[in-house]
Amino acid sequence: MGNLSRREMLQASAAGVAGAAAAALPGSVSLASAPSQDQINMRYQVFNVDTVQHMLNTYMELNPHVNIEAISVTGVDHQEVATKILATLAAGNPVDVGFACTEVTHLYAGEGLAQPLTPRLMDDADEFMEYYADTSAALSETMLYEGDVYQLMDNFNAANMFFNKNLLAEAGLEMPGKEWTKDDFYSMAQAMTGIDGSFGYGWINRFWGSWMPWIFVNDTNVLEEERAPGGEWFWDTFYAGDERAVGRGGGWRWPAPQANNPKMVEALEFVVSLTQEGLTPAVEIGGGTTLLGFFSGNKLGMTPAGGFWAGGLINSGLEPGSFDTQFWPEWKSQRHQLGVCGPWILDGGGQEDQCWDFLKHYKKREIQDALGHFTPLPLTTPTRRSLNTEERFGQTGVENWRVFYDTIDERPDTGPIAQPVFVVELTNIFTRYTGLATNGEQTPQEALDNMQAEMEDLYARNA
C-alpha cells in the first residue's frame, strides 16, 4: 500500500467500506478512469466557475495537454463548503486542487489532505518573491500550519463596519473616522434605530463576522492563541526586512478554549444588550445574503462585512455611494478578525507537479487581476496589495475602500478567526450557544459556560 496515491487510497477506502465485511481491494487498483499518458485531467474546486474561466482558459492554452474541470462547490459559509469537499472524499472522488478559506485551512493541512508547499516554494522561491512582496505578512501567516505553507491566496476579508449612508443621513450623522470607539458606535446605533422601522446595527449568527469582531476588539478570542514554532525559512526568504513580519512564526495555534473568560462574557453581554434595547433585530441563523437583503432595503444602519460587500451591495441594487465602510470601533483594542482564501493541492493525488505548475500560473498578477470575483466588480478583497485600486473599488462608491487593506497594514495585530482542525464542529457549538444567549433563553454567562464545557469536551476528544 506504500505506493498508493491518496486518490487511490480514498477510493479504496470508500469501496472497502462498501464491501466492509467483504475484502480489501487490491492495492494497485484505481477505481478512477485513468487518464491517458498524454492528457492530464485535473479537477479544480471553485465557488463560481465563471470567475475563474479566464484563468483556466489561459492555462490550458499554454498547456494543451492539460484539461481542467472546474467543480463548483457552494455553501452558506466556508465550513459548509468543507463538508461538501469531505463528501467528495468520502465518495472517493476528491479534487486535485481545492480552494479553502481560513476557516478550514488547518483542517485540510492537519488531516494530511493538503500537500505542504514548502519544498516547492523553496525550489521556486525566485518566482514567488514578487507575489509575497505584494501580499501582507499577516495574510501569508494564515496559510502556515506547523511551520509549513499549505495554501496560496487570492482574496481575504477582514470584518469592517459597513454603513448605510441613507440612514446615516436621515439620522443626521457623519461617517466616523478610523479612531472611532465602541461608545461612538453605540450612540450612532441609537440614532439610526427607528427610522422607518430600521435598526441601528444588525448581525447574524455564524462564525466569521457575527459577534466575533466584538470579541477581537475586546482583546480576546474564543480560543487561546499562540504561534507555532518554525516558519523561519518562509519569513527569511520572502519577508526579510519587513517589520510587519517580525515575530510571526510557523502558523497559528489554538491550544485550548476560553469561551467563558470575563472578556468573552463582556463582549456577549454587550451584543445581547443591543438586542434587548431594540438596537439590533432578532439575531437569526444565516449567511451574508440575509444581511445583504436587510441592509440594501435600508433596514440596517450598520453591519459587519468585508470588501466582498463593495460589489455585493451594488449587485443587490444599492446605488454607488449609498454605503461606506470604516474600521471596527475600538474597545480595549482595535484588533480585527480576518479570513483568507486560496488554493491547495491534494496530497498524494498523483498530479501534484502539474497542480503546482497551475498554481504558479494562478499567482501571477495579471491572472489574479482578471479573476471574476475582482472584475468587473470587486466581490471580495484581493490579497495582492497592488490590486486594491481606486479604479477597482471607486466604481462601487465606497469612499473608504482603502480601509480594506489598511485593516492589515495599519492594524498588523489583526488575526485570523480560530481555525483548529475540528473547526466545523467548533462552529456548531459557537452558533448554538450564541443563539441561546441572543434569544434570552440563557444568560451570556450561562451560554458561554456551556459553550466552554462543550468545547473542552471537543478538545478532549480530539487530543
Partner: protein, 317 residues
C-alpha cells in the same frame, strides 16, 4: 437430458445445448433466462442504489471512519455511545414532535381540501385548485425554506408584519425554542400539502357514491356523515397517506437545516441533521451511520405499528 421431450429440430446453432428450443425444458429455460435479462436492469439498480447503500450504512455503524484514514472495526461501541448521548436522544425527540405536528396538520388540511375540491370535480375550478395546491411540491425544499425563513423573520418578516396590523405582538418564529418546531412544521406543511392532498383527492373520488347517497337518504348529513360514513370509507387512503408521510417526515432535514440549523440551541435539530453534522462536521462517519441505522429501525417499527393498529380502524370494502 435423455428424458427431454423433443419438439423439432429448430435449434439455433449459437445457442448452448441446454437452451435449445427443441425441448419443453429448453423453452422453459429460455423463458427463465429472458425473464432474468428483462429484470436485470431493475435488479442492478436495486442492488447498486438500495441494497448496497444499506449494507454499507450498517457496516459503517460498526466502524470508526473519518474519511482521511481507512475504516477501523470497533464492534458495538458506536451503538453503545449513541444510547448515552443526550444530543441524539434530543434529536429523536424533536423529530417525533415535529413529525407528529406536521403529519397531524397535513392530514387534516389535505382531507379538508380534498373534500372541498371534490365538490367542484366537474368544473374547471377543479383543475385550477389541483394545480395551485400541488405547485409547492414542485419547488425545491431549500428554496422554500430560505424564502419562508425571510417571511418568518421576527423583525422584518411579512408574517409578523400582518400580525402587527391585527394588533398582535411579534412572534419569535425561528428564535424561540418553544415556537421554532411549530414554525418549521408549518413551513413543511405548506410545501408538502399538495402531495398528500392529491392522494386524498384520489381517495375521495373513488368513494362509492351509492353508499354516500344511501346515508344521505337515511338522514346522515354534515359532520355526522363525514365522521360515520366518509372517513371510514376513506380509511385505507388515510392509512396509506399517513404511512407515507410518517416515513418522509421522520427523515426531516431540508426545512430545519436551512431555516434554523437546528437552533435555537438544539431545539429543532432533527435526527437526520444529527447524522449529517456527525458525519460531515464532526467527521465521525461510523457513528453517524449507527444513528442512521437506529433511525431506519425506528421507521420500520413505527410503520409496522401503524399497520398493526390499522386492523382496528381501517375499513376495507
Amino acid at each position: 437430458m435423455a428424458s427431454e421431450t423433443t419438439l423439432g429440430s429448430g435449434r439455433r446453432n449459437w445457442l448452448p445445448a441446454w437452451l435449445a428450443g427443441d425441448t419443453v425444458q429448453g423453452i422453459r429455460r429460455q423463458r427463465m433466462v429472458l425473464g432474468v435479462l428483462f429484470l436485470l436492469p431493475t435488479l442492478i439498480g436495486l442492488i447498486v442504489f438500495v441494497l448496497a447503500p444499506i449494507v454499507v450504512a450498517v457496516a459503517l455503524g460498526f466502524m470508526k471512519w473519518n474519511v482521511f484514514r481507512p475504516p477501523e472495526f470497533i464492534g458495538l461501541k458506536n451503538f453503545a455511545r449513541l444510547f448515552q448521548h443526550e444530543l441524539v436522544g434530543n434529536s429523536f425527540s424533536n423529530t417525533f414532535v415535529m413529525m407528529a405536528m406536521t403529519v397531524g396538520m397535513l392530514e387534516v388540511f389535505a382531507i379538508s381540501l380534498a373534500l372541498s375540491v371534490h365538490r367542484f370535480a366537474r368544473s374547471r375550478l377543479a383543475y385550477i385548485f389541483r394545480t395551485v395546491w400541488f405547485l409547492p411540491v414542485l419547488l425545491s425544499g431549500v428554496s422554500v425554506a430560505v424564502t419562508l425563513s425571510y417571511l418568518f423573520h421576527t423583525d422584518f418578516g411579512v408574517v409578523n408584519y400582518y400580525l402587527g396590523v391585527l394588533g398582535i405582538d411579534k412572534v419569535p418564529w425561528l428564535v424561540s425554542s418553544d415556537i421554532v418546531r411549530f414554525s418549521v412544521s408549518l413551513a413543511t406543511v405548506w410545501r408538502n400539502l399538495g402531495f398528500t392532498f392529491i392522494i386524498y383527492l384520489g381517495g375521495v373520488s373513488a368513494l362509492p357514491q351509492e353508499i354516500l347517497e344511501a346515508a344521505t337518504v337515511d338522514g346522515a348529513r354534515g359532520l355526522k356523515r363525514l365522521w360515520l360514513i366518509t372517513l371510514p370509507l376513506l380509511s385505507p387512503t388515510i392509512l396509506f397517506a399517513t404511512v407515507i408521510d410518517v416515513i418522509r417526515l421522520l427523515q426531516f432535514f431540508d426545512e430545519p437545516y436551512v431555516m434554523t440549523r437546528g437552533g435555537p440551541g438544539d431545539s429543532s435539530r432533527t435526527t437526520v441533521m444529527m447524522v449529517y453534522d456527525t458525519a460531515f462536521a464532526n467527521l465521525e462517519f461510523g457513528y453517524a451511520s449507527s444513528i442512521s441505522v437506529i433511525l431506519f429501525l425506528i421507521i420500520l417499527a413505527v410503520t409496522g405499528f401503524q399497520f398493526l393498529l390499522s386492523k382496528r380502524w381501517v375499513f376495507y370494502q
